[in-house]
Amino acid sequence: MYFIVLLVILLIIIFWIAAMYNGLVRLRNQVKNAWSQIDVQLKRRHDLIPNLVETAKGYMKHERETLDSITKARSQAVEASGVADQAKAEGELNNALSRFMLVVENYPDLKASQNFLALQEELSSTENKVGFARQFYNDQVQAFNIKIESVPSNIIAGLFNFKQAEFFEIETPAERDVPKVQF
């Protein structure tokens, strides 16, 4: 009799652990999927930039430096790997692009060209998509990390070596350029 009761309790515990483990795996996969979404959009953004530079070249002869800095930032972003590195490289690229957008204001012909307008919508929408994918990714990371930290799933997480996922934060030019006011 005791034996059966013990067995039942043991089985319940095993199932409970399995369910918790599966839950953690599910969350980890969601984080992975969310990251691949960001990756897709970043690639798309990297693909759009050469087109943009090509289109702009025809109109702006005297802005070699700005255009070169975009190309350079892009190739760094393409080569970056890992969440933190990627975020840093994308931040640089953002800076280069926003400098470029400021310069564009001086070239009304470029601003009015259909090709450029279409590229601009694509680029800004892709930037939005990166932003939304990042937002979704960070939500997933948060859910995963909360699960890993909280009792009792933290025991299972420790046992099977689940590691906290990294948040993806791109430094936006606006945040960087705002001068710090000191009193």
Binding site: Q37, A118, E121, E122, S125, K129, F132, F136, D139, A143
Partner: protein, 419 residues
């Protein structure tokens, strides 16, 4: 988010069970009345018939409900190149919501601004917007509306409200048929005069009361749940866009531009399902069976520091004497979701209307060419000419390759061969 969706799912399952029980009770009561000589068999037959009606209606609406709705609305599908901005916005919101698959995007030629979502599965969903909506809203506002519709899809509203709508429809049909039948049979004199005792009278009264109450009860359940889901979709929209003001100002514009004509022609408003045809699917129209717009706007504008579901719940509670609505208060996730800045300028409605019409032209297969003098020329599909003269300024334009017919394309690419 997932917790809220899951809790909603459980609630919805109960709702459907309750509705189905009402339906079978109604079927039973009708059977009981018609076959009062043999009540037991009468009841089971009645329940059986009610269930068959229900299942048949469900099958129709689940297999082709969304197609019927889109066709009734005259919606035409667009691809990325037809309306890049609209398509991009839908894709943005798809990403923000974490939906696995991109919903199809449709456009409806109507000057009244509105939008709806259909599709009982999240991976086979569709979103339709009117040209009037595209014309009047700027990018941020359009994003808010699309986020609301994506919210309906992500929260499975399109699925559960179809199910609930069909059930309400079945109850109404059965009750209606029964009452009509009673009316005519009472004209024809009393049936079975065998035991016209008290028992008969009780049965009669019980069945009539059921036939009157069942439709009211199911409709009340349906409307309440529909309104609750609107709040949740609004909250989701704020969360997806991180910009509650976008949806708030879109709602104001939409409400200000509703016209009598459009609402009358809305045979496709199954929110109001009273007839079976309309119950064969589910659409989410921003303005039917919805909470009052002013209230929705006020809640969205009450979210001053965060765009999370919790912030929405708080803003709702401020307006409703601390009554909750979407059950987000107990969420474990953090409340820190900032609100972003406005991005797009005020929308020029006239220009917007022209652009929306251009989209329709493109969907219909016309190419559009803009002359530097400002004139837009419509180029028919598969034209054989490879250049066109601007009727205003006389400039001659080459027609882009993609508008040419196959033979003209071959000619223009390889002229030497054919000379």
């Amino acid at each position: 988010m997932w917790e809220v969706i899951r809790r909603n799912k459980i609630k919805s399952v109960w709702l459907i069970i309750l509705m189905a029980l009402t339906l079978s009770f109604l079927g039973g009561a009708i059977g009981f009345y018609i076959f009062s000589d043999n009540p037991q068999e009468g009841i089971s037959l009645g329940v059986l018939v009610a269930m068959i009606v229900w299942v048949v209606m469900l099958l129709i609406s689940f297999s082709s409900g969304d197609r019927i709705l889109l066709a009734t609305a005259g919606a035409r599908e667009i691809k990325h190149d037809d309306a890049p901005q609209l398509y991009n916005i839908v894709e943005e919101m798809k990403i923000a919501s974490g939906l696995a698959k991109m919903p199809r995007v449709f456009i409806v030629d109507a000057s009244v601004p509105n939008a709806f979502a259909v599709g009982i599965k999240t991976d086979k969903a569709a979103i339709a917007v009117t040209t009037g909506l595209l014309a009047r809203l700027n990018r941020d506002e359009l994003q808010g509306v699309i986020a609301h519709e994506i919210g309906h899809i992500a929260n499975r509203d399109t699925y559960f409200m179809t199910l609930a709508g069909v059930t309400v429809g079945a109850v109404i049909i059965l009750a209606d048929l029964f009452m009509r039948g009673m009316f005519y049979s009472s004209l024809g004199g009393r049936r079975s005069s065998r035991d016209s005792g008290q028992m008969q009278l009780v049965i009669l009264v019980v069945s009539i009361i059921t036939a009157i109450l069942a439709p009211i009860l199911t409709q009340l359940l349906y409307y309440a749940s529909s309104r609750q889901r609107e709040y949740l979709a609004d909250a989701s929209a704020a969360r997806f866009t991180r910009y509650p003001e976008g949806l708030a100002s879109a709602l104001e514009k939409i409400a200000a531009n509703q016209s009598e004509k459009f609402s009358k022609s809305r045979t496709l408003a199954p929110m109001y399902i009273v007839n079976p045809l309309a119950a064969t699917g589910k659409q989410h129209n921003l303005f039917s069976t919805h909470p009052p717009t002013e209230e929705r706007v006020r809640i969205l504008r009450g979210m001053t520091s965060s765009s999370s579901l919790i912030a929405y719940e708080k803003a709702y509670r401020q307006l409703h004497a601390d009554q909750g609505i979407i059950g987000a208060a107990s969420l474990k996730s953090s409340d820190e979701q900032g609100i972003r800045q406005a991005e797009t300028p005020v929308q020029d409605v006239k220009k917007g209307m022209r652009e929306a019409k251009d989209i329709l032209q493109r969907v219909a297969g016309y190419g559009l060419l803009t002359c530097p003098c400002g004139l837009k020329m419509k180029i028919p599909k598969e034209t054989d000419h490879n250049n066109i003269k601007c009727p205003r300024c006389g400039k001659i334009h080459e027609i882009p390759l993609e508008f040419l017919s196959a033979s003209a394309m071959a000619l223009s690419q390889n002229p030497a061969k054919h000379l």
